[in-house]
């Protein structure tokens, strides 16, 4: 049985690729495409009478395929269905890194899932607290409650918006400008940042519209998202390109981090780098830039 390392709550998650957990041909080696996370879906991609088969497929994938450094998250069925408890047991027993809560609308939803996850961890002898959680906001109510959802559990690493359902609720449709989702994206981002967790944008479904996709990814980056959900491996490269830092940003971050470490060793708190004042508050951001640069093959040093 494959033993996955303990999941990291905060890691690079630029790309999360959805795949139907019932399709062995897709999930058997999804890691080869180089996305940061894969999202094995038990929910909408799986027909109602196939839920059980999908769980078997998922369990065998989790326990026999070495996904390596690619994070493995599972989207479980909604709390209003008869499936979610069994979904959780399978995820935990198989050793998934995290669970995505579909249609999350309140902190209570997170807590309900958390209790079931903890029970499953005890049942299967998995270290309690190992399994991470993220929430998908799919309704105006979910978006309005974003902050309480984001801060409902220490297991929460991020929150994502699901565009399809949200647009339906709002009686709007996709708009290339992003105006249809502007408020929801903004509200969710603020909540996630306030709670100190990550934030991911919805999927872009028109695989032939390369320009539209690029425009949306650029807007995501400008708004401050950590990453995006994807439906096809061919979308990965562009997201990684857009989310990559510039060479100048990498050099600046490297200078800041190494200067900070030197200064700290000498007991100095505030110092200057290239004429700019720097203190400890800048360092996490600079370290994040370096980690991102490393993942993009732009930085080979050992500061991160």
């Amino acid at each position: 049985m494959i033993k996955r390392p303990t999941p990291e709550r905060f890691r690079l998650r630029r790309t999360m690729m959805f795949m139907n957990a019932q399709k062995p041909g897709l999930i058997k080696d999804a890691y080869i495409y180089g996305c940061d996370s894969i999202m094995l879906d038990l929910e909408d991609a799986v027909a109602e009478n196939q839920k059980d088969a999908a769980r078997f497929s998922l369990y065998h994938a989790l326990t026999t395929i070495d996904y390596g450094k690619t994070e493995v998250i599972v989207r479980i069925n909604g709390l209003d269905t008869p499936h979610w408890q069994e979904d959780i047991r399978v995820c935990v027993a198989g050793g998934a890194d995290g669970i995505r809560i579909a249609k999350c609308e309140s902190a209570q939803d997170v807590k309900t899932v958390e209790a079931a996850v903890e029970a499953a961890e005890k049942e299967f002898g998995v270290e309690v607290g190992r399994t991470l959680l993220m929430a998908a906001l799919e309704s105006p109510k979910g978006v309005l409650n974003a902050y309480e959802i984001c801060s409902a559990s220490d297991r929460m690493f991020g929150v994502a918006i699901s565009g399809g359902d949200f647009r339906k609720c709002m009686q709007t449709k996709f708009d290339p400008s992003g105006i249809d989702m502007l408020v929801a994206r903004g509200q969710m981002l603020m909540a996630a940042r306030a709670a100190g967790i990550q934030c991911f944008d919805t999927v872009f479904t028109d695989l032939d519209d390369n320009e539209g996709f690029e425009a949306e990814v650029r807007q995501n980056k400008a708004m401050g998202f950590d990453g995006k959900s994807l439906i096809n491996p061919k979308q990965i490269r562009l997201v990684h390109e857009v989310f990559a830092p510039t060479e100048k940003e990498v050099l600046q971050a490297e200078a800041m981090v190494s200067a900070f470490r030197e200064a700290a060793a000498q007991g100095i708190g505030v110092f200057t780098v290239n004429g700019k004042m720097v203190d400890v508050a800048f360092i996490p951001g600079a370290e994040r830039t370096l980690k991102l640069a490393k993942a993009c093959g732009m930085y080979e040093g050992d500061l991160v």
């Binding site: 058997k28 080696d29 080869i32 495409y33 096809n232 491996p233 061919k234 490269r237 093959g297």
Partner: protein
């Protein structure tokens, strides 16, 4: 005797001076005495060479038992010519002990399997062998040992007289009444007639079979009347739908695209990727898709491709029309776009198989090739490639131009998925070596890239460009970890086919298959 790729070649095959494979470029600088055909003089002015039937043509050319007939495969799986000719020779004239020397054979020629079983056809020399013919030859039913040659090795053997063609049959989409033939026009368009050219020059007799007679002179001719004895007009030389497929489309399969992108990355990391570079690619999913990504790199660097060769299909023709390739020279056309382009689009030319790939001539195109991108059924940890025998040991493929382009090019890239179904593509030992590992430089799979340790220069290129690569052994282990380690295929002792290296030495042998028992 063991050859340079570690294959045991039985001594009886080496009688008469045949050698085992000694490594790349072993024959370089040696001299060859070319064979000359014995041809009939047509001194008296002749209005027409048209005869009524194929049987009449066979009689006119003095067909008799034991002869060697040659064919070309531009009509691909749509070909009617091989079957028509062999049927006339065997069933109408009662000939036997015949040998077929074809540039390639396919499932369209299942009928020949019957003639092999009946002992009427006793010899097969070809590049491709598939379908029922592959099966019966693998079962040891052919009276003599079949010879498998590459597209460059075949004209070499013909020119050297190792195969003497008594009658060459040219399936021609158009011909005039004296035999000037072209691949263009008519109803069975195939474009290039490159594989038939050497046959026409070195055969004692040449028969043109066409389904579209055009006015004299049919110019510019691929096969010229000066070499032709007789012309036969038939209803149809092939099924047009299977001759040229609809336009080859670039794969949308994300796995193919990812591999193709990596192929382009590797190409762009080498010093040979400069303005005027030369290129050939296969028509398989990832090989063809490499065009797409290569174009991006060409645009980025502001460079153009100098020339491309091959089997040609639509994506290459499009690049030519966009002005991104200087010249396209082809020996075969795979789809209608290529067929309609050759000799029509400026700078799209036809060439013979000898000019394309013959290692014994003085200027084959493959020797000037920078990059070739090829597929593989199997590749082993010595970078030896098999494109001929299946995992059950049965003949079902063709070396084609694979060994020629691999040997001639500066960078030979094999692109293939690591596993196919339950079969490991990257393995410990290929069933048959069709392209020796000393000619293969880079392997691109969906699970990683490996560079042949014989090419430290390319390893440095990849390292400098930050392209990750691993050992081919680790890819093999990965493949076995997914699908398991297969048992060796079981064979009888009898050699059913010789796999000749392009230089004429023996690269490998194919033995009779042993029925599988549990």
């Amino acid at each position: 005797m063991k050859n340079a790729v570690g294959r045991e070649i039985p001594d009886f095959l080496l009688e008469g001076g045949k050698e085992v494979y000694q490594g790349k470029n072993y024959m370089d600088g040696k001299y060859v005495q070319k064979a000359t055909p014995k041809t009939r003089r047509y001194e008296k002015p002749q209005e027409s060479k048209i005869v009524e039937t194929i049987k009449d043509a066979l009689i006119a050319c003095g067909a008799r038992d034991g002869m060697t007939f040659s064919f070309h495969h531009h009509l691909r799986e749509g070909d009617f010519v091989v079957n028509m000719v062999m049927k006339a020779a065997i069933e109408e004239l009662g000939l036997k002990d015949l040998t077929i020397a074809a540039s390639s054979l396919g499932a369209a020629h299942d009928l020949i399997a019957d003639y092999i079983e009946e002992g009427k056809v006793i010899g097969i020399q070809t590049s491709g062998i598939r379908g029922r013919m592959g099966q019966v030859v693998s079962e040891g039913k052919l009276k003599t040992t079949a010879i498998i040659r590459s597209h460059g090795g075949r004209p070499r053997a013909i020119e050297a007289g190792e195969v003497h063609i008594d009658i060459a049959f040219v399936g021609a989409p158009t011909s005039d009444c004296v035999g000037n033939s072209r691949g263009i026009g008519g109803k069975s368009n195939c474009g290039s007639l490159g594989y038939a050219m050497t046959d026409a020059k070195f055969a004692d007799h040449v028969v043109v079979i066409t389904d579209c007679l055009v006015d004299f002179p049919n110019m510019p001719a691929s096969v010229e009347a000066i070499d032709v004895d007789a012309v036969v007009v038939v209803d149809s030389i092939g099924n047009p739908k299977k001759i040229a497929s609809a336009a080859a489309r670039i794969s949308q399969n994300p796995r193919d695209l990812m591999m193709a992108e990596n192929v382009a990355k590797v190409i762009a990391s080498t010093p040979y990727f400069r303005d005027g570079f030369s290129f050939q690619t296969g028509v398989g999913g990832p090989s063809l898709a490499a065009n797409l990504f290569l174009e991006k790199y060409m645009d980025e660097r502001g460079i153009k491709m100098g020339w491309a060769i091959g089997g040609i299909c639509k994506p290459m023709v499009e690049l030519l029309k966009k002005g991104k390739i200087g010249k396209v020279i082809d020996v075969q056309d795979f789809d209608l776009d290529a067929v309609n382009s050759i000799n029509q689009t400026p700078n799209h030319f036809e060439m013979s198989a000898s000019q394309y790939a013959n290692p014994a001539n003085k200027g084959a195109f493959v020797n000037k090739l920078d990059f070739v991108v090829l597929a593989a059924l199997e590749i082993d940890t010595g970078f030896n490639v098999n494109v001929l025998t299946g995992s059950d040991g049965v003949l079902r493929g063709a070396p084609g131009g694979h060994p020629d382009t691999a040997a001639g090019s500066k960078v030979c890239i094999i692109v293939t998925p690591l596993v196919r179904g339950r079969m490991a593509t990257v393995c410990e030992k290929v069933v048959t070596v069709t392209t020796p590992g000393d000619c293969v430089d880079v392997l691109v799979t969906d699970y990683g890239i490996a560079v042949n340790p014989l090419r430290p220069d390319l390893i440095k290129c990849l390292d400098d460009a930050g392209i990750e690569h691993v050992s081919i052994e680790s890819l093999k282990e990965k493949a076995y970890s997914i699908v398991g380690r297969p048992d060796d295929v079981q064979f009888e002792d009898k050699v059913v086919a010789i796999l000749e290296a392009r230089d004429g030495t023996i690269l490998d042998v194919i033995r009779q298959i042993k029925p599988y028992t549990l």
